[in-house]
């Protein structure tokens, strides 16, 4: 089949790669045990808390989970527009404002 695929220039991902990608995605959620709705709530509350200290662009906030070994990492990428409470200094641009870790461990 691969011989024919190559002959006709088809280049679909292999079923092995599809299996691996799907597993990695589903396991991120299995390990954290957090629903997309809960993730949205988390994001909204985080924006609220951080906005008390610095002005951020809520539209640009990205919250993602990643995996390395059996550790899950929650990364929030939050664009900072400027300070809120202390109008002495101006900063701009994106800053990795929050990095926190969540221990993966099934339901533990």
């Amino acid at each position: 089949m691969r011989f024919l695929d190559r002959l006709f220039g088809r280049n679909e991902p292999t079923s092995r790669q599809v299996a691996k990608d799907r597993l990695q995605l589903v396991l991120v959620h299995d390990r954290i045990n957090i629903s997309p709705a809960m993730l949205d709530t988390l994001k909204a509350e985080m924006i609220k808390v951080i906005s008390k200290y610095v002005e951020i662009d809520p539209e640009g906030v990205e919250v993602t989970f990643s995996q390395s070994k059996r550790q899950s990492r929650l990364t929030a990428d939050i664009p900072v527009v400027g300070p809120v409470k202390r109008p002495t200094r101006k900063s701009s641009g994106r800053a990795k404002a929050v990095r926190s870790q969540a221990e993966a461990g099934g339901d533990g």
Binding site: R2, R16, A19
Partner: protein
Amino acid sequence: MRATIVTITSGKGGVGKTTVTANLSIALAMLGQRVIAIDTDIGLRNLDVVMGLENRIVYDLVDVVEGRCRLRQALIRDKRLSELFLLPAAQTRDKSAVNPEQMIRLCDQLRPEFDFVFIDSPAGIEQGYRNAVAPSDRVLIVTTPEVSAVRDADRIVGLVEAGEKGPPKLIINRLNPAMVRREEMLSTADVVEILAIDLIGVVPEDPAVIVSTNRGSPVALDGKSPSGQAFRNIAGRLMGKDIPIMPIKESANALERLSRFLRG
């Protein structure tokens, strides 16, 4: 003697826990170890038929914990290897007939008598699993290179780690090297990367397993079969021998070789 208690578990059913338990028990007994295999799949016992000892059952695990017989009376001595024993599960009860404390007490009684105590866990993550894991020193997780089995194995890894049992080790069962080569199956490296635990062995898919199970004569007894060799290697590793994990060879006939040549 102070036995090592090894629990074989998987989460998903049908991935080969019982086959692995039977074969590792046999392979270690062949290496001169004194071994007992305990079936904790109460209500769905099978280790007895896989080991070919089903006709000799008088008492079972539940009889022992409920005190209807002495432990020694319930142990079935293997007909081929005199240092190998089986403690069968009850067939007419359910998982709640035994609790984790009883399993720990039972294994404490067995510890001075044996080198290895193998516990064949039922599928699932409920009481049967907890019974099987409670007394264990080492947990071996069996998976096949399929998404459902790997996903369930990941759940078990999480549970074992949360239960402070130390890092479990992985057995990949029924790997088909030809399918891996064609990128139609997760490879050993893929599964290890996803689960992120140490590998203790890879068992190739092998028709000899079914034939040997038909006869009640586990494949580890078969000197030539590739799966039997894989089980004997895992047994050696459990004894602390440094046996490298060999890449699994394809058994190819002329037609397969020709088609492989055409595929490139």
